[in-house]
Symmetry: none
Subunit: 219 residues, 4 copies
DNA sequence: AATGAATGAGCTTTCATTCAT
DNA sequence: CATGAATGAAAGCTCATTCAT
């Protein structure tokens, strides 16, 4: 059935998807300038200028500056999740080495991203959290989700005997996720150093291996 | 002590330390209201009101709102350092157990403080960091200083053979310091739970022990 | 006089009255939303939405929001005049009773309308007048026109001796027209009360009768 | 007792009454510019400029533009009441002539004021009423209060037999108060005319006399 | 002819900072 | 020294109007 406009469709046809594109355009611009100058330090006019549109236009697509931040955070989370490529982790690890390798790969990808966009973490974890608790909670929620995932792997590892039985999986899952943080922080400070970075990841994962593997499996 | 009238002010200058006291008073008030409402959400008049002084007076002791934040951060760092009571750590540990005990005690003190002033971490690490990089760097500097301290202990431990020789002390020192973070984050979310908290600290330190102790010493 | 189409437009000219109909449609929508939310409180987009047309279309038929108000006022005046049904008054009264009866009937019709559309008076006399003097003057002009009409009747009444000779007809004509006002005002305040309303009209007209009729005719 | 400041009163003494003066100053400026350009047509900066103060200062004394309007209305009502000099009416009338004389005097004073400040009525009754019902109600309340006052006089007149017994005092009280309106309206249109004005008041009051006096007292 | 996307002027309101007293 | 009154720059947001399609 060809597009049969009902009742003499008059006037300029509303370009489908335009709203989606404009929203995206604004969110991306906001992402950039928020990261650069911070949320409070950014005026809507800055966002509009960066997107090369009028300030008024911004308000055609978002009802408030705050709403834009919400979407910027979602955008950031999407980006973060995409970076980690969780689907790559779906091949269940069958040994501590496997698990560590997965984590190593994920950590590397995160480092790569942060290297490319050093303001990313700042915007997402610092800036957004400073605005209000709801946003901070959203990020914590993300961490909790990931921790549950890791905890499940750990439990499987215990059952399969490639992880010590006395490990408090819930606590350690959170801990593992936090282990990249000190490296990330250092990354944020300035030009990163590939060697230091590799050493950091290696040392931390090595430590985890030592701690998690049952003695019987130790070399 | 009679109140020395102005005009023909002879003798001892009135209260050399008054300026210091005023500054302190303002910083403490700012600390409270910044923690409560955030830096951007706080007006200078709020600070002045909390300190029971006029707004103008604030500007006799600080040149800008921003400068006050600097001092609030310093104040917070002092508090944090005092909480950790580093002098208690000066008795050098002579075993992994010793070191872990020290860290356990420090972690407990930090948890206690956060429990008492949950907005503390938020102000120091989130709010302040969001304002500008220089403040974030100051906090990172604190961490680096502490990490150096821990690294030295680790190195001593290796020499004394109660820590494995293949530990990358610089990296692990940072890592150790970060290990309390996930617990702290959870703490910030709501009413803390003594049992969960103890379990977290125990699990993490246990993990460290396992990882750091040479095999020969393991039970 | 045929309408000469520019650019060889042959065949039936497309809807000569369409413009008229569109204008009418817009004015009626504007009348409704202006009455509901006030002139300043109404956006052109509200008018367009109520008329189920695009905002741009509004500007094909009117050059400005202000111009629409002009027409809304005219529309309101028309409605008011139609309500009063002046043609019914063309049967010249031949006694004070006649005149009063006419006025009574007119007053009743006005009350009925206000009861049905309580925002009517507000829009016409309050809202519009607040915008600019020219609009207020237009309403005053209406009143003056009506007053002239009433004055003529009064003069006829004096000649025919059913009205006192010493009545200042010009002044009293205006006065008569204003006499319904206090009732109308009360009507605007809330749910009207048929009994109060009837009493009001009766009292006022009774008073007029007493005042206008020559003593010789008084019972 | 000389001013004994408690506890070393320091700093510039807060000038007593300044707030009152500033508020008054702002209200009077607002009264002028609101009357001139209307409430919606006036920006706070206009009010501030007219009062020769900064915009920010306005907000030290009022929390919103709307609050200013409230006070302007109160100011207008005060002015109106002061104009009518109700205390002059406290000598109870003892005849219809007395009452009419009182009303005549009051009407004259109102006309005088309107002549001096033609925008007065517009601001108070048109502009303010257009903003919201609460303000309109405040004005209606004023009228109701005055009407009660007049009604009481009328009732006394009936008892004293200088007013007909069959007068519906409540209705007529409202009516009397409205009788000046048409004159006022005309007054608003342009340069007033003393002769027309006198004639208007005379005619209306004469009519009232005729209508209210019992036949037995008529000449 | 009709549309709705785009725009920027202009609004109210906040607040860091200055300064007369 | 201390004060709080004064200020104006700057922010978020609205909407009458324009114009490409």
């Amino acid at each position: 059935m060809p597009e049969q406009p009902r009742a003499a469709r008059r006037g300029r046809p509303p370009e489908a998807g335009l709203a989606q594109r404009r929203r995206r355009q604004i969110i991306e611009s906001a992402y950039v300038v928020f990261a650069e100058r911070g949320y409070e330090g950014t005026a809507i006019s800055d966002v509009a200028a960066h997107a090369s549109i009028g300030q008024g236009t911004v308000y055609r697509y978002f009802t408030s500056k705050r709403e834009i931040l919400d979407h910027v955070v979602d955008f950031g989370i999407e980006k973060l999740v995409a970076t980690i490529e969780p689907q790559k982790m779906l091949q269940l690890p069958t040994s501590a080495e496997d698990l560590m390798e997965s984590l190593h790969a994920a950590a590397s990808r995160i480092y790569d991203m942060v290297e490319g966009e050093p303001e990313f973490i700042r915007l997402l974890f610092v800036e957004a959290s400073a605005i209000d608790k709801e946003l901070a909670d959203r990020l914590l929620g993300l961490e909790m989700f990931a921790a549950k995932f890791v905890a499940r792997e750990l439990r499987r590892g215990i059952e399969a005997r490639w992880i010590r039985a006395d490990v408090d999986v819930d606590v350690i899952a959170h801990t593992i996720l936090t282990l990249v943080l000190p490296g990330l922080m250092r990354e944020l400070r300035g030009p990163s150093n590939a060697e230091v970075r590799e050493r950091t990841v290696a040392a931390v994962l090595n430590l985890m291996m030592k701690a998690l593997r049952p003695r019987s499996l130790a070399p």
